[in-house]
Point group: none
Amino acid sequence: MSVAKRVLIVDDEAPIREMIAVALEMAGYDCLEAQNAQQAHAAILDQKPDMVLLDWMMPGVSGIDFARRLRKDEVTADIPIIMLTAKAEEDNKIQGLEVGVDDYITKPFSPRELVARLKTVLRRTTPKGIEEPVTVDDLTLDPVSHRVLSEETPVDLGPTEFRLLQFFMTHQDRAYSRSQLLDMVWGGNVYVEERTVDVHIRRLRKALGERHDYLIQTVRGTGYRFSVKN
Amino acid sequence: MSVAKRVLIVDDEAPIREMIAVALEMAGYDCLEAQNAQQAHAAILDQKPDMVLLDWMMPGVSGIDFARRLRKDEVTADIPIIMLTAKAEEDNKIQGLEVGVDDYITKPFSPRELVARLKTVLRRTTPKGIEEPVTVDDLTLDPVSHRVLSEETPVDLGPTEFRLLQFFMTHQDRAYSRSQLLDMVWGGNVYVEERTVDVHIRRLRKALGERHDYLIQTVRGTGYRFSVKN
DNA sequence: CGTTTTGGTTACATTAATATGACAGTATGG
DNA sequence: CCATACTGTCATATTAATGTAACCAAAACG
């Protein structure tokens, strides 16, 4: 695996978090922890984990409410969630699936089972462009080798431009405002000028060259869009 | 912008409230003010602001207690809160996030930072309306990609024409006066000549071309209408 | 018909938004 | 510690969009 996946563990009981964290780290994942919904939310915006392990029962905002909230917000809607439930109640399962949880595991569970489920969900939900290369009109971005090719020729991009292009190529035909782009590409809690986006767009276009810069389109009064169509 | 968002500023020091209010109003927000928790609570029930800026330290009920109270009550639970804290103590941050505050800013802060945070929080928490494409006789407007297609061919529109067409396509078969259109498309409190509408109608028709300009119909003595029927 | 209204069109000055180039402060990797 | 690459922000240039007025065309009116 190229880069370790990051998993956020949300549970109010520290020992349980620890146990899970140990199991996952042995399996090669990076772990983040949160003991309640608020901490979790902050961590998600901040760190963009690849997956969330969410305890069903928590004081304050319950796991299910939290999951619902995550699904509503565009920024967090795509993050896979696995629910941890104490008892194997059918109710939980149904409710959870309704909210859009990707899987659920009933306690107690073995580390092996956990890792197995996690792997499955990640494989199922990881979209192209995260580990599969994406190609558009002879422009290829390969996340694994962290490379961009324009008709076989390597394109030289800075880290930010790379992420920007990756985001665009995995979210085509959609207009994004500057502040949305800041959220999605820069990350939730950073404060930078909106105009900075323009500059990076410029750098990206320049790097793509005449052959491909048409892909990055200005949507006046709104922001930018990536699309093959003119 | 459709309607200005209303922000309630809660701080016991009038000069600070003023400063914040000025900054926000310049950024296009409507401001309400309260100097303690009681006033704030009344204002919230009364005016339903879209967001609350809450000072951490206040005589009487402290900001954090007040936030907790707001979160408990179903009526006020969904209103986003940004905390203003004097010192950058981690404690505050954690406690605040636990209570369910959406973000926090440490004083002193620049107006720009404040506005930026506010914008981010509002965008995260404001549910967006359903953005489905609308199609009429092979003319499609897609709000997501911010595009208009006439039989697969992109139609080039300025921002105003886009909004105008969007309004029409979602309000068909109904005649609107010029001043109604100004209200709905331009926004409530701008003053422009009524005849300006004519010009934009003209631009829209031109852009739609012969294939589709019949959709924009003149209603003599009244205004305009969008309809498939002639 | 001639006149009066009302809408259509065009040209144009102004304003607003985006593109671009340069710079200084920071990370980064030797 | 140096050399180099990245970032974010400005100031400025460029371009697009906007609103208005002047003028033209078509109905309505008598």
